[in-house]
Symmetry: C5
Subunit: 354 residues, 5 copies
């Protein structure tokens, strides 16, 4: 059972707004990275306390604060205090069982979503909650795990190519979302491959293993869909928002990510349809196999049972059985023993059983 | 058949607005608790008559009146008289077969919903109707049963931690709704566990007991969904209401409960999908088992029926059967008796039946 | 095939507005009842001609004209003439295959719906079309059959208890609708019971009778849903209407009936889901039964076919069969005859077939 | 494959607006009928050229121009030229694979829909496209085939009964639509009957013929639904249109036809549900039949295989078989031959196999 | 796996706006065609560099620039530079995994869609992405492959017949869309044919090949639907747009294409329904076949097993078996051997097994 479903009730009974990390503890320590950039300069630092970012806030540069690991709640509390974030939002950041959503607050926007990544080459999908706080000239991202999905984006920032260094925190938010959504295409690709492989197996030799493979893909698709489909509304809402934090020229970028999510959800629907098809193939191949078994039994039984009966007749011990004394009786019978199967085999061939 | 479905017709034929408790009688006596609190003080009392709350109404404190047990209609009538509640609302409070709904009246809001709780460790789910009347500085809750789901909330009120003591009756209403919705996560968790256990059983040894387990979960999900899904509209309607009773700063809290309900309903949909998968596994495992039985029969019959026929031939009593006199006939036949099964077994192995 | 589906084409080809009773003729004669009441007085009469109500129309009393039986079109024509009703409405009243609907006309409102009632204790559901014309101080109801579903309402009017005698024709309309909808809860209750009984039968001894029972309930549910689900729109439209005929204080009552209808339709959806579950149980119980039959056959055949073969060997008549002369051959064979079944039975027990 | 689905690609590649009849050629010649009427007079003529209607256009009478047969495109071109119709509309009239739609143009309204009719007593449904152009005082109808579905309407016009002669071209349009929709009720009725008959056959003796009957009805329902369901939007749009061509007093009539179409589509949905039920009955009756076959086999085999084995034992030729010499051995064995089947039959009766 | 699903993740990790062709490389070289026309003149040229179109842009003629092959990104970059196209649009043009969409920009409109074409006579469907940029007096089309679907349209332009030469770039855009959509009708037609053929095969001789044919059509339909259904929104959005680039008189043409797409999507839904029907036929024909096999086995076994038992009795070697010495015993037994099968055959006939 994936962690996105269990233990949701951990916090039931606590007052709302209590900061406790609800979720699986992946790593003990948080890592806080600050990237502060303008068109000309860029600086990346790993800091120990949130208060170190205070000087960056006043400047005209764009600041990206990336907090990885939610076990230690002190950084989150500091962010809340310094940036004046609503307690319920902080609580949502820590509770990693959130449904993707987008909330507009007075001086910041809050986006929470799931990041999906293929763990290994097998279909083991890793789910991670990522929260994004977008303020004027500042983007704070909260990640559950320490992984490297943001590495290419940071690299691009450092290289200074493309528009990213010329634009504000809204474009950075878009770039973060785009990076997360692009990750999902890898999932789609591997599911494609697995469905294809399973279908080939099914056509060659359907085993009960095929069925449990189908069920496993189905279950993964249920979770993926649950994680991704609310993202559509989130990404449709962002460009519709009239927050001054999002400039009009960035709208087109958010709409682009929205199109990607739409494409992903439609592909997932296709996958579900294809799985139903696989199940049909499996079910009917089981029936076909039984048909084949039955035909073999029927052919054997139908040929030899009558013959055994005939042999049984002349094994009787009656005194008055004239055939027993006939000279040609036994050879004649052999002809019957050969003819009867031939007739039956022709009959079964006509019925396409052989 | 759960009580939420039966005997709904008990009141048919009575004039609307007649106060009769329609539902199952759980306990004879009501228990009326009053909690009266301000930022500084909090007082909890069990009272015998509703009239005792009259002094609390005029003060600036927030009052929570919790009425448990609906058998005795006098308290409800008193509430209706003192607070000037519409007769149809009183009737709805007493009829415990209501669909969750939210009604705005001139000087109060009326919310009715179902509380779900796991009765024991088994999947026996208890349904209870809870009605909430929200007035200025007063919240009245009507519970069908005497249970302890409000105990943690009352404890929090007494501890005075968090925002709750600083805020009005709208926040208290939110806290009550939040408590009820948080309860539902326990249900979701136990259904998760039961589905997981059932799936393991299915893969190891599918019995007809597995099927009835699947059906029982399915039925419970039907009822849970029926109880919870109208709650979405209810909780979406509350922050959209323009009643002066709900302050704008509380909207975010109601939206938070709304998100929880959304998450619960989506999880229930996933559960339904997973149940369909379980049913597929069950159905195909039944087919697979029959396949296996058929194979055993076919192998036994196909091997021994031809052999029996051969033995039958030489059991015939013809006078002219030269083989009977040959010295090596019997050993030769034994070779056939050994070779034929070997050939057939190789054939069946090729067909992957053995 | 219920009458709500057949012969709908009876009127095809006639000009619209032709008054002909399209439907099954239940009774030859109409019965026209007039109840004229104010807060102080109430009078009930059975009249022969619609013209007798003319004096009631001018007074300040509320008048309820109940016409039972639609075979005789004269009363309907008279109502149309006296009250200036649109010909299409009159036609709809007479054609008892209407879809439930609500129409606002200049000086009156027209509501048509289906009344459902359990005919006996069996699941034989009676459908009847009821049309309601609501004018200022006058309500005209048209019933297809002479039955007693309005008796309790009339009794309540005469008793003068409750609000009904203090309020206008809009409240009377509500009371009529409430009476009809309350009737439907009986249907829901009996379907509940039948599903429960069928499920018990299925678990004990599934016969093909169970299947046809399931199909029959399914068919009834299809018709019930078809009759009830358009009622939701009708009842949602009434309080939204801005006709001066409906006072604002009556809105809450219509919304109450609306809630009931919502509850009924949701329960019907649950029933449909439960029926699908029953069908799954039935289908898999049929498969399980076949499995059991096959196991018995396989056990019998697998045990006795090899034994018969062994007996066949020593029934052969070869001259050179040394075993035949051994003294202990026969008892040794008996040991084989006993051991082989034991080994096979242990094998089948391991496979859980016995 | 019905003609509404094939050859749709006939026109692909031609410039839009090219007048070619796309569809099946039913009849070579067109027949053009003109009915010109006012409250006092009515005149019906069959004309050879559209130009003959020019005098009618100026008068105050209402003119109905009915063109049957679309093979000859000259009349359609003339209509387009005289009445100034948009080329795309003319193209749509000729291409008989249109989806039902309603278009408002500056000086006319264009409605296209499918007329369905039962060809014979069998379920052979005829589809025909009917286009309607409605102008001030003029209605032009284009029919694919020469049939008599408009005969009753023309008769009513001539009789002069009802409102039709007093009203304008909007009422005539309504009357035409009403006539076409009323035709569809016959289809519904015959499908009802066929479903009923098929169900009876299924319960008595399910053959594979039943299955193909179910599939055939299903296919017909798919086509019917495809033809009718867009009609809902069409008929909902007409009274909502603010074209001056439709007077407000005619709105109620269009809404009436809309109700009929709603009723038809809902009935078709019920039919689909019922067909699914029939399929379930068929599938499980096939399983039941196999069960029965298996039981017979199992009973025969289980009774006689053990007996044959016993007989086989005493057919062995051992020298030392003491039983062979016992006097009562043979009669004792006969008792076993009788007792064993009795015991087994009781066992099978207990299992309800007999 | 069709190319529209795989390798979508190729670009993940690159900065948005990087021009790389994402898709399958069909052909190395691009071909750029320019058609420049006014009412009087038309000129067609194949050019090597986009800069050659600069003179056309200033004139009053309408210019159609058709770029085939997306491997070479220089032409696309030139188009972007000369016409001032947003980098994200250029990126979308090159990434051939776009979902169909319509975007309004300040001075141009961008439409992207999939073109479907039947590759051969088999059901091998070719997918190709076509992007359309529409400016004032200029239409640029980008095609993935060099094929000839635009040939008939170009021919029509050259012939100068119809409206096309009199109208602007909006009408040309319509004509391009119309050409692409008309292509899709061929697909619909061939799927129709394949379904018909498969159904005939199924009724005559259902093999497991039929099943995989059904699954293949199903998979194709999933892809086709995914490609076509977003086109509905696109084509509904175009006439609703208030861009000055689309004149009001062209709206009716776009609505016409919209109608065609609606018809295609509805037909695809019908196809899906029909495929479900085919699957039902297949599944039940498999069951029927097994039934038939079982009947043959049961008839053979039930007739000969009892007879063999009887023969076995008189093959026993007891000394005291009086029947063995009776003169008429053997002929009597023959009568039994003949009568028993006759009785059983009559019994099986009654059960309709023969």
């Amino acid at each position: 059972m994936p962690d996105s479903l269990t233990n949701i009730s951990d916090k039931a009974g606590m007052p709302p707004g209590t900061l406790v990390h609800v979720g699986d503890t992946h790593e003990a320590e948080s890592r806080i990275t600050v990237i502060d950039y303008s068109k000309e300069n860029i600086e990346e630092r790993i800091i120990g306390s949130i208060d170190e970012i205070l000087p960056c806030l006043d400047s005209n540069t764009v600041t990206w604060l990336n907090i990885e690991g939610l076990k230690d709640i002190i950084p989150i509390e500091s962010v809340g205090r310094i940036l004046n974030i609503h307690p319920l939002v902080l609580e949502d950041i820590l509770n990693t069982h959130q449904r993707p959503k987008f909330e507009e607050h007075d001086n910041y926007l809050y986006i929470v979503l799931k990041s999906l990544s293929v763990e290994n080459s097998t279909l083991s999908i890793g789910y991670e909650q990522i929260s994004i706080l977008m303020l004027n000239n500042l983007v704070v991202t909260f990640k559950e795990k320490k992984d490297d999905i943001f590495i290419p984006l940071m690299q691009r920032l450092k290289n200074g190519k493309g528009r990213i260094r010329n634009m504000g925190s809204d474009y950075l938010t878009y770039a973060v979302l785009d990076t997360i959504v692009d990750q999902m295409f890898f999932i789609i690709d591997s599911i494609d491959e697995i469905i294809e492989t399973t279908e080939e197996h099914l056509l060659v030799n359907p085993t009960s293993g095929s069925l449990s493979a189908i069920q496993q893909i189905k279950r993964e698709l249920i979770y993926i869909r649950k994680s991704i489909s609310p993202l559509r509304e989130v990404l449709a809402a962002i460009p519709r928002s009239d927050s001054p934090l999002i400039q009009e020229k960035t709208h087109i970028y958010f709409r682009d990510v929205y199109d990607h999510v739409l494409r992903i959800t439609e592909t997932i629907e296709s996958h579900r349809d294809m799985l139903t098809g696989l199940l049909d193939i499996y079910m009917s191949s089981v029936s076909n196999k039984m048909n084949e078994v039955m035909k073999v039994l029927t052919v054997f039984a139908s040929i030899f049972i009558p013959l055994t009966f005939i042999a049984g007749i002349y094994g009787m011990n009656f005194e008055y059985m004239p055939e027993l004394k006939w000279k040609w009786a036994y050879p004649t019978l052999w002809i019957a023993f050969i003819l009867i199967p031939i007739v039956l085999i022709i009959y079964f061939k006509r019925k396409k059983w052989l």
